[in-house]
Symmetry: C2
Subunit: 549 residues, 2 copies
């Protein structure tokens, strides 16, 4: 893929353009595609600009579950999902430290509440319209639970998740399906698609209204494109910009599974145009395979499914430190524990260890599993006939990446400690109860448990004793991003707000490129894409009402 | 104090002014005062603008230790503090996750390294000049250790700390002394001081150079002041701006001990002028008394000294969860542990519990102690004749603040668990060894242990068995800020950089209002003020070289 270098994000003033449209949308993932389609269906002329040489962005790598509160399928099935209940659930998880059950906004800021409300109100109409138009038909995943199905604030613990109709039974290819069907709808309905177009900066008129963008192209040099009504950014976050990651994220993540083109373009372009920034601290998180992240592997998928029943995570001393089956956003937190006496992140790398049983029964090439079947890239897998041999392989791998992982070293007595850890885990597995970390006690943990051996399933299907003979396998994991949540602040209509709280005329944003009102929460599977479709619908509706300039 | 409302931070273009100076400095704490003095001593006309109605800012509340690597007193005492060693220590702690011992920059970014180098090179010349001029004379605290004196990268674990010469023996009033002596030097040497002047925005000329500021005054309405050479911001961070805190800080802190005027003014004013932001995630941290923070008490001092040997912190279940004597920046981390199965911060409030012995021997009104002597404000202290009675008082206090603390509730069996916790702690205290959290094993823990009973000091002076009879006392603590570390990015000369990495002509910044290169580290006591004096010196020197406009 030809890369187009980043230019200055500072806006320019001009009234001369190479081409013009009613609406310019930026980004070829779900947020950009949906914004383009919704805008086009209003009758606007629309162009979609994508930096890469193909559409899809992070969406193409995703399973594309989409979380749609009070969706039609729920209604048809008689599942009640009241607005107040749903927003309460969102608030409880987004700002747990200030959740106020009796407050009108449940402790959210006015902006956060308004956006959550817009998500509830518009997710279903948006997805219905996409479905009616044949751009994104769905099937209802009525049994898929929210990620916090057990908390009392979740009055509707299952039923909110949809998936593209054509996705395979395991749903893992939903993103590829959605990108295909939405792209086809764009072609059918006349959205102009331009790949290899990197938006560098905004164009404004003398009144300060955003009237277009300046683009560098892979093939034809710079262009200036006019948007008579609006520019809608639906591009990615800043997962692959090291400076932004280090200086804004709450945790020292080493990478993530966002498309490699997610370099924070709209953080810079928006800020340069005066946008207020929000939620720059909390990303969407997931464990990731360390080496794929450090090597910049564009195919990296977050470890959504930590499969394997005879599998544990241990730290460099050989001890378990977390529940391996936690939902990914929560599991990722364990890597960033700070040791206040040694000044280090002792868990920055954790080691997944499994035996031949899990290798045979729980391998898979979906949902970012680190236990992969023959024929898959297994460069990240360390193998040893004994635990001692495995330990030596792990030690060598730590040494190889020492300066990227804070010089963490594998303990001298790692193998012996690991043996004791396995013995303790095996006792839990036999009893079906993890006394240390409560593994397997939440619905979401069963959801992502992955392929497991049916015989014997045991009382807790997430655990099975690890064999006392080799071969053994290991993989190094760290905490990473799906993508970031921070960026310019958009109101529920997708209009970007400036530092004084006023809209920047003509400028819109949706998706990972703008601030998420979810703060630290990951409400459920599809809590990215469902809300983004809703907010793309709102943005396109508002943009359509803009007077043409 | 009359408050002056925040106005738009957007810069204006003008060439008409109400008054003019060579250099305008903003902020009446150490960074602003030092920048003003250094500028004045070059022969410039200088005004210092302070938003409050008196000078001092956060500095006035501080002990004003100042960390000065390779200072003259060390040199005189034959203590070697090599530049490479010092920067290595800074790097090891600032970016522990990317520390690279064999790298030329030790894993720091180029910018971080350059600023650390400037601190090392200039802290001593700056403090010597302040001393020679009589603006800030010092005495050497040769025995005060760095906060990470035990790590192998600290080749100079004591000797880098100075304190204002006139401070009392305990050094706690160093800030008041420094503000007084530096203010007197300003008056003596002709720095014009204007309090009640809130800088709202920058003034630029047609070439984009910063040429002054617009100010709202408490007494006389708006003013436009010209800076022929430079505007140097030395104002505060964003501790008291809820939006910035919630959307940028790594932790959900509820407040802090920065001056209440620290509302992130320069984050907004700088960003509006195109400044790149850095290190918005990691604040300077310390435990704080919960109720003082929630009530906005302007006199709040961080809990720098968790005094009391028969004193422990427990969580709402009655269990110890941390080493109570950790250096404050590290101690504060314990409050933000995330429970990934319950979606809550279980330690957001911890409860300090002590007995009559600690009340009698360890009370103090310095360094933010929560054990206070008679006559001090003790509204934060809960008292009970028995542990059961104490528990009821704690329970009521939690209930009072429920919506501010994520609805944390005191466990039903708190008193019984607390009793067991005390028994276990008492065993440790008798043996002099805390097997759970290693309390008292680091030099910094002894440094801040505060007044303690001499008899019997025991093998570990930080621990003494808690009495099995009342009265008992408690105080609620949370993690807070001294102040924040994020803001516009300044180069080692204090020049503010824009999003393209170019200097914004005429604009400078020093102190908590700009980004600290220390990332997540708190190197030592005075790691704020020592570097700020160094960087004020650099900024004033560079500003002096600016051509007058």
């Amino acid at each position: 893929m030809p890369t187009i270098a980043r230019g200055s994000p500072e806006p320019v003033n001009s009234d001369r353009f190479d081409a013009e449209y009613d609406v310019i949308t930026v980004g070829g993932g779900a947020a950009g595609l949906a914004s383009a389609l919704f805008s086009r269906w209003h009758g606007n002329s629309v162009v979609l600009l994508e930096k890469a040489d193909e559409l899809g962005g992070t969406t193409k790598k995703a399973a594309f579950w989409y979380w749609v509160p009070n969706n039609k399928a729920m209604q048809a099935a008689g599942m009640e999902d009241r607005k107040e209940d749903c927003i309460r659930y969102m608030a409880r998880l987004s700002r747990p430290e200030s959740y106020a059950p009796d407050d009108a906004r449940f402790g959210l800021s006015d902006w956060e509440y308004a956006v959550c409300e817009a998500i509830y109100d518009n997710a279903s109409p948006a997805t219905e319209l996409l479905s009616e138009k044949g751009a994104l038909e769905y099937r209802h995943c009525e049994a898929v639970p929210d990620y916090w199905a057990e908390i009392p604030e979740d009055k509707c613990p299952t039923g909110r998740v949809l998936v593209p109709k054509g996705a395979r039974d395991t749903m893992s290819d939903g993103g590829a399906v959605a990108v295909r069907t939405m792209s086809e709808a764009c072609a059918r309905d006349g959205v102009e698609i331009r790949t290899g177009h990197r938006v560098q900066r905004l164009v404004r008129n003398d009144q300060g209204r955003v009237t277009g963008v300046e683009v560098d192209t892979a093939a034809n040099g710079p262009l200036r494109l006019k948007a008579r009504k609006a520019v809608i950014f639906g591009s990615g976050g800043f997962t692959h910009d090291t400076d932004l990651r280090r200086n804004f994220l709450a945790q020292p993540v080493l990478g993530g599974c966002a498309a490699v083109t997610n370099e924070g373009d709209f953080v810079r372009i928006g800020a340069a145009a005066g946008a207020e920034l929000r939620n720059m601290n909390y990303p969407w998180m997931c464990p990731i395979v360390l080496e794929k992240a450090l090597n910049g592997d564009p195919g990296l998928i977050g470890t959504f499914s930590p499969s394997g029943d005879s599998m544990i995570y241990v730290d460099r001393t050989g001890r378990r430190v977390t529940n391996e089956k936690l939902a990914y956003n929560e599991s990722a937190q364990a890597f960033f524990k700070w040791d206040p006496t040694k000044a280090e992140y002792p868990n920055l790398v954790l080691i997944a260890v499994w035996d031949q049983r899990s290798q045979e029964h729980s391998a898979g090439d979906e949902y970012g599993r680190f236990i992969v079947p023959p024929g898959c890239d297994d460069a990240h897998v360390i193998k040893g006939e004994t635990l001692e041999a495995l330990a030596e392989g792990i030690r060598a791998r730590f040494a190889k990446y020492a300066t990227a992982i804070g010089n963490l070293k594998v303990a001298e007595d790692f193998a012996a400690t690991l043996k004791a850890t396995i013995e303790r885990f095996n006792t839990f597995a036999k009893a079906g109860r993890d006394e240390d970390f409560q593994r397997g006690e939440r619905q979401v943990e069963l959801l992502f448990n992955g392929p497991a051996c049916a015989d014997p399933a045991g009382p807790n299907p997430t655990m099975y004793p690890i064999s006392n003979s080799g071969p053994y396998y290991a993989a190094l994991l760290t905490g990473g991003n799906l993508d970031t949540k921070g960026g310019p602040m958009a109101n529920p209509d997708g209009r970007i707000l400036d530092r004084a709280g006023n809209v920047i005329p003509g400028l819109y944003g949706v998706g990972n490129c703008v601030a998420s009102a979810s703060a630290r929460a990951y409400w459920a599977g599809g809590a990215t894409l469902g809300p983004y479709l809703a907010l793309a619908y709102c943005a396109a509706n508002a943009a359509n009402r803009e007077p043409a300039n």
